[in-house]
């Protein structure tokens, strides 16, 4: 059973990869610049793909990453709740973030990976297609720091994106993918009324 990999191990693994990838580049650009910008603390994010959407969640709000969860569907739940899974003895719901955000649903596809997001009140597992890696705000220069969310139209998805990171020289992980990295606002997500609608009867 290789359903769970410990988070530390994963991070170490990915860090290793990043290190080897970035070493030639960092030679050119000297040491990573000191932190400025909005996210002034050095913070780390787990990046992942939800089909074609490139997303990131702060490591601090992710309590677990695993693969192949056995999901049991429960009745009378909205489509975006895929069901619950027994993750090391704890019952955790697994959510299809795309469906939650009003994008085409996961459609009963096999859930390969999940990330358990948590705040003080609850834990929610989100189904993920691929874990991309880790990125650290310390590796960002002034230029390609986190931008505030460019999504102006109040759509389901923009409501939960706190910022984006565009391709930039100092951030090969992002530029390599050639996509905008969307940073998920986990707090907002977990406290959104739809997410918290299951507190009690009615």
């Amino acid at each position: 059973m290789d359903t769970d990999i410990s988070l530390e191990k994963l991070i170490a693994e990915i860090d290793g990869q990043i290190g080897s990838e970035t070493s030639p580049l960092s030679g050119d650009h000297a040491a990573p610049t000191a932190l400025r910008g909005p996210a002034s603390a050095r913070s780390q994010y787990i990046t992942f793909f939800l089909e074609e959407i490139f997303l990131a969640v702060p490591i601090s709000s992710a309590s677990e990453i695993g693969r192949d969860p056995a999901v049991t569907r429960l009745p009378n739940l909205p489509e975006w709740v895929l069901g619950v899974s027994n993750i090391r003895g704890e019952i955790i719901s697994i959510v299809d973030l795309k469906a939650f955000m009003g994008l085409p649903a996961h459609r009963g596809k096999k859930i390969r990976r999940f990330i358990v997001l948590s705040d003080t009140l609850m834990k929610v597992g989100i189904a993920v297609d691929r874990i991309a890696g880790i990125f650290t705000t310390a590796s960002l220069s002034d230029k390609d720091r986190i931008h505030s969310s460019p999504y102006k139209e109040a759509g389901e998805i923009s409501a939960f994106i706190s910022g984006v990171v565009a391709a930039g020289q100092n951030f090969p992980e992002v530029s390599e993918r050639g996509r905008l990295l969307n940073i998920l606002d986990v707090k907002k997500l977990l406290s959104s009324p739809r997410m918290t609608a299951f507190r009690s009867e009615k």
Partner: protein, 1321 residues
């Protein structure tokens, strides 16, 4: 300075003796006066005084020997001996006796005066005394010298004087010198086993050794037993003590004592320390600043003192002098605190704490000196006592403490009782009987025995301060007795409350007493009665006297009342309440309440008494009274006896307090075990499956072997006739097979192509070498033949293994079953520990309502239903407050005053009902009243006050309005009453409920009443449930909700619309497909995304049903429904878990359970499912709102595809399965056509079949054919997956109805695309 403590002890001891002298003298005078009245004192009379004197003499004797004043000890012994004779009636107390004894007491005084400073001429005094007593007892003078010589031998000529000198003298002497003469003496009078004990002395720490030596020497019981050897005293002079080498400081007595002895001491000590710690904790928490010493404090201190005292006694018996010395000291301080101190300060408490700590460390390590600490604490004691003394009257019982003088603990003047006990302990110790010693000690401590005076002494002293504070009766009571009294009382009070409640709910108007009522009354009477007896036995006079009054009423009701009215029941119940508060706090006499109620009771029974007098005679009345009193007496006695005897037991079964957390841990462990066990279950199924597969494999093996054998025989026959010429021509194997083919060999031979070549290669040699042999004759020797035989043998071996495995399997199965039974029993017991029936709180609730109705002047009949509901104690604790609040609310706001009720045509007595029940995983409490209901207009007005706009308030629905009452600060009352209406409360009720993850709802009809429904999930619940599958999903169902499992005929279904119904037995109920009821159904043709298609799906489903579907008849409350299930998976113990922190509430399920393999199975909440599905007023809207709230798009997620793979190759099966599963599809694998057909029957119809052509038993073509003939399977799309690329194979397959033809190796994407296309995804 090791000797200091010794001198301190002596000094202290002498102080003690001084205090004895006045009582000795006055006692003797009293005796003398009595004696002079008549002709001497008649034997047996005035024994009390005699015994007192005897006791004192005995004490002086024993203690003197211990502290090393041997002369005094011997003198006292003479006196005691004589007193023994007098007590036994052998000697008469005369004036002469008086004189001799007074003289002896004078000697005592001499010792007291001179011993410390000048020293006493012991031998001279002893000689005088002995002679005087011998004359007194008419002993022959000629033996005088003999006896004297012996006695004097043991006493130094002079004793006492400066200690310093002695000490230096002692140190000079060598031990051997002095030990020698001791030993014969010891042997002479001590029982032999004391000798080793004594010899141990040589190893003792000098300081303690001296004390121990003294103890060892205490000889009294011997003198009793041995009788005629008067005055034996061992030769333990100062010298011999001094003879102990000062070097050996560390090894101490424990080694010399029986280990069991020590062990039981430590056990006992540990218990006492625990008690002390508890008491100190209480003190510590209550004493934050100096407070007056209330009786309850005194009681606590007395408890501590008791522990210290017991420790002191026990440790001195065991010669643990460090402990006993210090505890004596602590005890004195406690004595003072208990008896003379007026206030208690935090300082005192901390001092006590330190003392307890020190005592504990001394006990833990008796060898170590704790002098420094001891001194510090002692200074602390003195300081506090002096300060208190200077402030008020000096405590007379506490004499000034000489600087650094350790008073000897055994002879505390104020502890006669103690000394007595210790003395008898010493008696016992020398009897060498550990058990009897313990018992004796206990007896002396606890039961009034022949040492009654000592006991009385103690009791009166203890109770003295109690008398000073009226109403406080506790101080003098035995805490053990009290503890068991409380336990018992609690039971009786609960019974009373419950029984009164029963009566209350049954009787709403004046009613003749029925036999059932009488039975209840009898039980009440019994409880009151027992309570009275028990209270009297432990000395709680408040309780017992009021119980007596209450008993009168219950007696009258039971014995003579013809009718019973609610009023009387209320009176009974009130009496119960009052009794309860009296028991809970005996210090508070509640005089006014008691008096008021007692008057009422007497008014009742008095009125009755008159009536009774008319009917019966006076004697008739008094007879039952007498018999009842006798009964009480008996019961009191019984109580006292049982409890006293219980307290005599060294270790009665004790109650253990365990923290909830630890219990929870165990419960959840048991739950985990259950889950682990069900993993075994699943493993067992796999095991059985594997065993039967193995059997199949064996069968195949055997068939192959047989085929080979037959084939080989055939071939050899052929070759025998045809091949020989060729062989003889020197043909090659290649030629030979060519020849065989040419010979037109049968199909069998062709099929055995491989065997053929084998045969030839191996046979070529023998054939060529022995051409004259027929090959058949050679078969036994051929290699091939051997292989065939080996194959047969292996198949037999495998067969045996299969048998073995099957046996093992059933054995495991049995073990598992046993395990499961045990485990569920364990779990049950564990749960029971946590749970309690509602009775735990119901008496509180009843009392609340009763008090309220009295206060409000309303008549309220309060009925509790479902009192046997068992819930977690924690839930009871948390839910009591919300319930109480709701009840109060209902009594205050809900139920109207009697006049108002009558005006609106209701009975004057309002009905308030609390019903508790369990529904699925929830405990449900309904509180309903038939009062005025909630006035929606008033709520609107209040809403306006709260800041909600008038328009908005007007628009609000009733339900919305009602939900407002749970808002903080909401109140409809314009005026605030004492009981409720402040607007706090309902929001707290909701908060409390939500903290239990529960919910609360209210419905109300104006003028009719209100009902609150409180639902609380039962945490940690285990239910017995049924597992079943429906629509490819596994579900569980509580057995409670399951009414019947039945197979119905399709014709029983009465088709809709609007609703399919079914008749089961007498009932007609709606029938649902379980999976669509739950909005999850997989694997059937139509997959809707909207409600419309959903209903089509359902009806389509019904048309698809097999002819006799399996139906679960379920029901909750009055509703019934039938659910169609696919298969049953059996009954299981299910541990209910919540659905996680995110999905706290999921409509339709009461939780999930985790299977052995870690998979999660939802447990259906039938009540809720039927509620939402079966309709009823308002539920449609509710459902809509529910979904609008929960779902952004109400649609069915497409269920995963079900794919069946039929291939004989395991690796092909696995690789396809992996590919399919990655798509999120579900896979069933079969190894050949027959297997596939079986699985189709068992697992239901897949969306698509992937099929190989070449397979054993039934090949792909045959399977296709089989599918074609079954209408249910005809439509399943089939993809052929084969390595046969030839067009004719493809054509054949397509002809048989295959929809696709894929050639191995396949391209993943194309393959998936084809599947999606064929399944119309």
């Amino acid at each position: 300075m090791p000797r200091t403590s010794d001198s301190e002890i002596v000094q202290g001891y002498i102080e003690e003796v001084k205090t004895y002298i006045p009582s000795l003298l006055s006692g003797l005078e009293a005796l003398s006066a009595a004696a002079s009245g008549g002709q001497g004192l008649p034997p047996g009379s005035d024994t009390e005084v005699l015994e007192e004197i005897h006791r004192l003499a005995h004490t002086v004797k024993g203690a003197s020997a211990m502290v090393g004043i041997y002369g005094l000890s011997q003198i006292a012994f003479q006196m005691e001996d004589a007193l023994d004779e007098i007590l036994a009636g052998n000697l008469v107390f005369t004036h002469e006796t008086f004189q001799v004894m007074s003289g002896t007491v004078e000697h005592f005084q001499t010792y007291c005066r001179d011993f410390p400073e000048r020293g006493v001429a012991s031998q001279k005094l002893l000689r005088e005394t002995v002679l005087a007593f011998r004359r007194l007892r008419n002993m022959p003078p000629r033996e005088d010298e003999n006896v004297l010589a012996k006695l004097l031998d043991r006493v130094p000529e002079y004793e006492g004087g400066a200690f310093e000198g002695e000490e230096s003298r002692e140190k000079d002497e060598s031990p051997a010198q002095h030990r020698k003469p001791d030993i014969p003496d010891i042997k002479e009078s001590f029982s032999v086993s004391d000798a080793p004990l004594l010899s141990e002395l040589s190893e003792l720490n000098e300081d303690e050794a001296s004390l121990i030596a003294m103890l060892t020497d205490v000889p009294e019981p011997e003198s009793d037993i041995i009788g005629e050897i008067p005055g034996y005293f061992p030769e333990m002079s100062e010298d011999s003590v001094a003879g102990i080498p000062p070097g050996d400081e560390n090894s101490v007595c424990p080694s010399a004592l029986s280990p069991e002895f020590m062990e039981s001491f430590y056990e006992e000590a540990e218990e006492h320390f625990q008690d002390m710690r508890v008491s100190l904790k209480i003190l510590g928490s209550r004493v934050a600043s100096p407070v007056p010493l209330s009786p309850s404090f005194r009681e606590i201190i007395a408890q501590i003192r008791r522990s210290v005292r017991t420790l002191k006694g026990a440790s001195s018996v065991l010669r643990l002098m460090n402990i006993s010395v210090f505890s004596a000291r602590a005890e004195r301080f406690l004595d003072w605190l208990c008896e003379s101190a007026t206030e208690i300060t935090p300082e005192i408490v901390s001092l006590l704490g330190e003392s307890a700590d020190l005592l504990e460390s001394v006990v833990a390590d008796p060898d170590r000196e704790h002098k420094h600490k001891v001194r510090k604490l002692r200074a602390g004691y003195k300081d506090i006592m002096n300060r208190a003394g200077s402030g008020s009257a000096i405590s007379p019982t506490f004499p000034e403490e000489e600087s650094e003088i350790l008073r000897f603990p055994f002879a505390s003047a104020r502890n006669d009782a103690e000394t007595q006990v210790l003395a008898s302990l010493q008696d016992a110790a020398s009897l060498q009987d550990a058990a009897s010693l313990q018992k004796e000690a206990e007896k002396n401590f606890r039961t009034p025995g022949d040492k009654a005076d000592a006991q009385n002494d103690r009791v009166s002293r203890v109770s003295a301060p109690a008398e000073a504070c009226p109403g406080q009766a506790l101080a003098g009571l035995d805490p053990e007795l009290l503890a068991s009294f409380y336990e018992e009382a609690e039971g009786h009070l609960q019974d009373m409350a419950r029984l009164a409640g029963m009566l209350e709910s049954q009787i709403s108007v004046q009613h003749p007493v029925s036999p059932e009522h009488r039975e209840i009354l009898r039980q009440i009477r019994r409880s009151v009665h027992t309570l009275k007896g028990a209270a009297a036995a432990v000395g709680l006079s408040n309780v017992s006297s009021f119980a007596h009054s209450a008993e009168d009423l219950s007696d009258w009701l039971y014995e003579s009342a013809a009718d019973i009215s609610p009023e009387e029941i209320a009176l009974l119940a009130q009496s119960g309440d009052l009794l309860e508060s009296l028991v809970a706090d005996p210090g508070n006499a509640r005089e006014s309440e008691v008096r008021a109620l007692r008057e009422k009771l007497q008014a009742k029974t008095g009125a009755v008494g008159a009536g009774f007098g008319v009917r019966g005679t006076g004697s008739a009345e008094s007879a039952p009274e007498r018999s009842r009193d006798a009964e009480i007496a008996a019961e009191t006695r019984h109580f006292a006896e049982t409890h006293c005897s219980a307290s005599l037991q060294p270790s009665p079964s004790k109650t253990l307090r365990v923290s909830m957390d630890r219990l929870d841990d165990m419960v959840s462990l048991a739950g985990e075990l259950m889950i682990a066990l069900s993993a075994f279950d699943q493993g067992m199924n796999a095991f059985r499956q594997a065993a039967s597969d193995l059997d199949l494999a064996r069968e195949r093996l055997r068939n192959i072997a047989r085929d080979m054998e037959i084939g080989y025989e055939g071939l050899s026959l052929i070759s025998g006739s045809i091949l020989r010429p060729i062989l003889s021509m020197g043909g090659t194997p290649a030629l030979m097979s060519a020849a065989a083919a040419r010979a037109g060999a049968s199909r069998t031979v062709v099929g055995l192509g491989n065997a053929d070549s084998l045969l030839t290669s191996h046979l070529s040699l023998p054939f060529s070498e022995f051409p004259e042999f027929d090959p058949l004759e050679l078969d036994r020797y051929s290699r091939l033949n051997q292989i065939i035989r080996m194959l047969n043998e292996s198949s037999a071996d495998v067969g045996a293994l299969v048998m073995l495995l099957a046996n093992l399997g059933s054995e495991f199965d049995g073990n598992l079953t046993r395990q499961r039974v045990l485990l569920s029993e364990l779990q049950d017991k564990m749960m029971r520990v946590r749970t309690a029936p509602m009775e735990a709180i119901s008496s509180r609730l009843r009392r609340t309502v009763r008090e309220l109705s009295a206060k409000l002047g309303k008549n309220i009949r309060f009925v509790i239903e479902g009192e046997d509901l068992e819930l977690d104690r924690e839930i009871w604790e948390k839910i009591a407050d919300p319930l109480m609040h709701l009840l109060r609310n209902a009594a205050d706001h809900g139920i109207e005053a009697p006049q108002q009720r009558q005006a609106s045509g209701k009975p004057p007595t309002g009905l308030l009902k609390l019903s508790a029940s369990r529904e699925g995983n929830q405990a449900v409490f309904r509180i309903s009243d038939d009062g005025s209901g909630i006035d929606t207009e008033a709520v609107r007005r209040a809403a306006f006050r709260l800041g909600i706009s008038e328009k908005r308030a007007a628009e609000m629905s009733e339900e919305e309005l009602f939900s407002l009452i749970f808002q903080p600060g909401f109140s409809t009352r314009e005026q605030i009453s004492e009981i409720s209406g402040r607007g706090v409360g309902m929001d707290v009720v909701r908060q409390n409920t939500e903290s239990l993850k529960g919910s609360i709802r209210v419905i109300s009809a104006l003028g009719k009443g209100t009902r609150f429904t409180l639902r609380v999930p039962m945490t940690l619940a285990v239910i017995r449930g049924l597992l079943f599958t429906a629509g490819g999903h596994k579900f569980a169902l509580a057995l409670n909700d399951l009414k019947e499992i039945i197979r119905i005929s399709r014709n029983d279904i009465i088709p809709g619309p609007p609703q399919e119904l079914v008749r089961i037995g007498e009932e007609i109920m709606p029938i649902y497909d379980a999976a669509s009821l739950l909005n999850i159904r997989d694997g059937y043709g139509v997959r809707g995304t909207g409600a419309e298609e959903f209903s089509i799906l359902t009806s389509h489903y019904f048309s698809l049903l097999t002819s006799s579907p399996l139906v679960l008849a379920v029901g909750a409350e009055e509703r019934r429904a039938a659910l169609i299930a696919d298969t049953l998976e059996g009954q299981r113990e299910l541990v209910i878990k919540s659905t996680g922190s995110h999905l706290r509430y999921v409509r339709g399920i009461s939780g999930v359970t985790v299977m052995g393999d870690g998979s999660v199975v939802p447990i259906l909440n039938i009540a809720e499912l039927l509620d939402s599905e079966a309709g009823g007023q308002g539920t449609e809207a509710e459902r809509a709102s529910h979904f609008s709230l929960l779902t952004s798009h109400f649609s069915l997620p497409p269920p995963p595809l079900q794919i069946m793979i039929v291939d004989d190759s395991v690796s092909i099966r696995q690789s396809i399965a992996r590919l399919m599963e990655e798509q999120g599809w579900q896979v069933t694998a079969a190894k050949d056509g027959i297997d596939a057909l079986e699985k189709l029957g068992a697992r239901g119809i897949p969306d698509l079949i992937v099929l190989d052509i070449e397979m054993p038993r039934m090949n792909g073509y045959e399977f296709l054919n089989a599918l074609r003939v079954q209408p249910a399977y005809r439509e399943i799309p089939v993809i052929m997956l084969t390595s046969r690329a030839a067009g004719k194979h493809r054509d054949k397959a397509m002809g048989l109805g295959a929809k696709g033809y894929v050639i191995k190796p396949y391209n993943n994407e194309e393959f998936i695309a084809l599947i999606l296309q064929l399944t119309k995804r």
